[in-house]
Symmetry: C2
């Protein structure tokens, strides 16, 4: 039987609950498809801070690098919000992304027919939305140097960051985006602020250059402020969106909320060769942690992305995706996606219903 | 009679049409309230590029600085989209903001009961939305140095910009925001990315420091990605939002689209002493330029903001605001806000209906 080493990073808040459910689903789908998983659970985020004093222990990063794929729950919480920067759970996540060199973040946002009412958008605007945000994840203002605090030439206290992109960083994320668009509807929209920022001008120039390798993909460009509007006005106009780290952070969250069910949305972060990082896009939800109320479906669907994009195990991935749809079709809903006439269940029971359908 | 010098910058696309209507409305409201306007029309944007070779001629900036307030139509168009940076219409706008030192950009986004159906959001989510985005306009990544193109230490081609804020820049925009919130519902939400960016950490620290001067205003903080989500999920939770230049660009456009009627939304950009700059938030809409289809209401309402925030002429401002509501109540609609049962009119006719109500 095939065997894979998976690093599990439960993290904080609802992280452990949703990871535990996703692990069971991975095990069952794997056993049916003749795949064995060896899970290695490690500390990360606030949990790691409390236990070891740092948000990403060396041991965790090493284990992650040596495994075939990494599944993360969620990190962060009020408890660590006031920590200094190098002691924030978020900093651990950024170090993990950097350490794994996962420069390509794929964030699907689709409105399932079963959940169209969960969107705050009118039904005719929301139904049929099916888009993919390809966000650059290891460059730009998140990592650019110089950064820090200081004084300007007049002695004023300042805080500063650098938005910087190298051509090769843009080229490689553009290729991932064109490949993604090619497998979908063949339409790619690159989002930038090239009317103001030099970093965006280079972005646009390189995306146009790479487009020559993908004559079958239809490329368009949009300014980020307009994209933020168009996602509200008519999200169906988008198929694949590619953008930089900070714009991707903002727009992918906006797009996810347009579906109305962020408890459903997975993500994949890929490098050019090493293990990928897979995580739900929702946060650690400290207010409902430990109460068996969390929606595990985003993490289960992240496990499906792990199989598909991380391991190339497409059959097992699709088995899980169908099981999720089946559990929804049978009317099971956690609180965040509940609507009248359905069956309200907790995190564990939702996991069991998915297991029945695997 | 009181007399004011107003610089008119019609600009490009639909700019001249909407400015011409707003000028008539200003004249009538002024004459009723005993105010005289001397208008001085100048070139700006693409129109200035074509006539003089630069997007903001020296003469235009000088006239603007010497006047009591500046009313701008819109700038830009396909024709100049591929221009080099210093020859873009947008660069002229940034130079104008910098030249006038208008650091505080006020962008209201409210859903009028008459137009609630224009929003793509469900009625219960959209109705009653009434928020104000206070955007820092002359700092941050728009103006930060160093910026440009070059090579990194490995010889890779790069494009880069600097996000930088000085404490005094944050303090002064924070004060405007607190004052604004105080006059509204007393709730201020400061939006940043302080979990990642040093510039945002200083932002948050200074906003908290300034909050001590406004104990009656309730201050909260939100990360920009979450704010982009919350604007879609429940825009009514917001009253006044304060944020930096680039986040304000994105979030104010998103907020405006939530109203569904960006053809209605004005903006004011204020300095600490000199003339303010007033403009509709919509663009130059080159596709409908010269066809008498544009909605002049955003520019008319910008003229009202000019009276209120720029000249302190509150009675004349409110006269114009009421006239706009009255024209809407009488069922007049331009194409962008048209719905069944109303009367479809063009730009000029909409202007005439507002004049009847002034
Ligand atoms: C937690 C935070 C650092 C992170 C980011 O900004 O990238 C999160 O918002 C995300 O999108 O994964
Ligand atoms: C035209 C452009 C430079 C401008 C900006 O980004 O500020 C516009 O989007 C705005 O918001 O006024």
């Amino acid at each position: 039987a095939k065997s894979y080493n998976i690093t599990l990073l439960p993290g904080d808040g609802i992280g452990p609950e949703v990871i535990s459910v996703a692990k069971n689903v991975l095990n069952l789908a794997g056993s049916i498809e003749g795949i064995e998983f060896k899970f290695n659970e490690k500390l990360m985020g606030g949990a790691a801070l409390d236990a070891t004093g740092v948000p990403l222990p060396e041991e965790t990063l090493t284990a992650a690098k040596q495994s075939d794929a990494v599944l993360l729950g969620a990190i962060g919480g009020y408890k660590w919000d006031k920590n200094e920067k190098h002691l924030k759970p978020e900093t651990g996540l950024l170090q993990l992304r950097e350490g794994l060199k996962v420069f390509a973040n794929l964030r699907p946002a689709s409105v399932l027919p079963q959940l169209v009412d969960a969107s705050t958008l009118k039904k005719e605007v929301a139904e049929g939305v099916d888009l993919m945000v390809v966000r650059e994840l290891t460059g730009g203002i998140y990592f650019g140097k110089p950064r820090g605090f200081g004084t300007d030439e007049n002695g004023n206290e300042i805080g500063f960051n650098t938005e910087v992109y190298a051509a090769y960083e843009i080229d490689r994320i553009a290729r991932i985006a064109f490949e993604t668009a090619r497998k979908r509807s063949g339409k790619l929209c690159s989002v930038d602020k090239a009317n103001v920022l030099e970093a965006s001008m280079l972005w646009r120039k390189r995306v146009i250059a790479i487009a020559a390798e993908y004559p079958d993909v239809e490329l368009s460009h949009m300014y980020v402020d307009n994209a933020a509007m168009q996602l509200v006005r008519n999200p169906k106009q988008f198929d694949t969106i590619v953008t930089n780290n900070i714009f991707g952070d903002i727009l992918s969250d906006e797009a996810s909320m347009i579906t109305g069910s962020i408890g459903m949305l997975p993500s994949a972060s890929l490098s050019s060769s090493g293990p990928g990082l897979f995580e739900p896009i929702h946060g650690s939800a400290p207010d409902i942690a430990g109460q068996d109320k969390a929606n595990p479906l985003a993490t289960i669907l992240s496990a499906a992305m792990l199989l598909k994009y991380g391991l190339g195990e497409v059959a097992a991935a699709e088995r899980i995706e169908l099981a999720v749809l089946d559990a929804l079709n049978r009317g099971f809903r956690t609180g965040d996606i509940y609507s009248d006439g359905n069956k309200l269940v907790g995190c564990k029971e939702m996991g069991e219903e998915v297991l029945k359908s695997v």
